[in-house]
Amino acid sequence: MKILKDLMYTKTHEWIKMTGDKKAKIGLTDFAQDSLGSLVFVNLPEVGDEVSKDDSFGDVESVKAVSDVFSPVNGKVSAINEELLDSPEKINESAYDAWLIEVEDIEENKDLLTPEQYEKVCNEEA
């Protein structure tokens, strides 16, 4: 299980990476892709959609189940990773490169987990 040191995380297994002032990319963690198994579909929001902290902004479907993906922050979708719509397997291949959405105008979220805190969450669930 890979946890990158330069990212922040959520209890619901999303990662968030700041890509600029008030701008960030959001994706699913390696732990999440491993538990879900081979992904076959990804549903993403549209550019311009508002996302709110802890609310689902999309879902991913594996051969086992459909799971919601939750936003770690409040903000507005500035880009979506369209490549994933045709190739959801990219998330399985490299979870931290396969970002789902980019969000701008984000508000600070003090509840995000550090890599160390997130590792604990994973160990408890594993």
């Binding site: 081979s38 076959v40 579909f41 051969v63 189940a65």
Partner: protein
Amino acid sequence: MSLIFDKSREGIGCSILSELDVEPVLFPEKLKRTKSLNLPQLAEVDISRHYTELSKKVHGVNDGFYPLGSCTMKYNPKINEEIAALAGFTKIHPLQPENTIQGCLEVLSKAEKYLCEITGMDNMSFQPAAGAHGEFAGLLIIKAYHKSKGDLKRTKIIVPDSAHGTNPASATMAGFEVVNIPSGDDGCVDIEKLEAAVGDDTAGFMLTNPNTVGLFEKNILKITEIVHNAGGLVYYDGANLNAIMGIARPGDMGFDVMHLNLHKTFSAPHGGGGPGSGPVGCKSFLSKFLPNPQVKEYSDKYEFSNSPDSIGMVKSFYGNFLVVVKALTYILTLGKEGIKQASENAVLNANYMKCELSKIYDMAFDDICMHEFVMTLENLKKEKGVSAMDVAKMLLDNGIHPPTMYFPMIVHEALMVEPTETESKATLDKAIEVFSDIYKKAMAASELLHEAPVKTPVRRLDEVLAARNPVLKSGDRHTD
């Protein structure tokens, strides 16, 4: 084997239609097809052989043990088929005058009466054609009820995560917002979470009981009370009724609306097309909202009646009528004692298997189960790399249909086993032996399990490829 389309030969066909003995009536030009239908062209004998060949490659309840959890794959008694094939039931037309089909109306009326007796409901409609269809109709009834009281703010349906997967889907289809609540460590509804979730926007609460982990909800009266106090209605998903028939009644537990699966609990065929029947039942204060038409019994006759407050029709005519005939036959064959005994044996069989298998495999919950139980193969996967999928595939090589896999989602590497009451102890013992044999193989040579199945018509299917790039047309093939 090849598809029926591959066997098609130009110009070959069946000539079973008798000569036209009335004046031909032609379609108007504008309605005529411009291209001929793309149907395979085969002689009757070749069609028959094609489907017989297919039928030899499947596994049904008539081939062997079929412990598919949550699906109640019990044996379908042949007498059901015999009764349902009677000309009085088959050679009728849905638009025939009521006075010429009194026997058929009596079947619907009697089936309603007996099923209401079993469930504690007051009225029932046989229109829904499947379980989820019954849920959908039931939710529309809940919606109509709140609307009739002018209470339009009740837009949410609460569903615990141990419910059937169809519950949130049906609620969404019916236009509700779904609020999911997690179950407690014991696999049952978390009362505190439920109390926090209810409010003046709660339209209803859907409960599968026994739930999908095979446990009977402990706080059932408390649950229905909390929802009622908040002004919501309580829906009972009767898909697992096989565990409680003749013993406990949803109506007595405080439930307002429910559905049954005649194609599961009441022994009509299930899987392979059914067809199904998912009657929706309710308490009398909701009866006027049931789908139209309802059969009414008078002292000297039966008649259809329509309620102006009805949610309307949810299927053409009266639902899958012959399935109701089969269910009524089953009820009358078993009688009051037999119905109860069926449930007792279903629960006994499940506990026997659970008890024996727990000597080898990990169980998701230790409690005594109802009609089904859930195993977790998480440790086996971690230690030996053998997943629930691998075990399921090896069961196929042993002539056993695998249990339900990876469901419920609250259990990792889940295998959900429902033996049903129609299996003998000898069958259960044989299955237990197969399970323990597979475990030994997993310990000694796990690669064997990754190879399975080896004896089936097709080996392990690439379900990822199938989901990502489905081939939906004959003639298209995956090349790799």
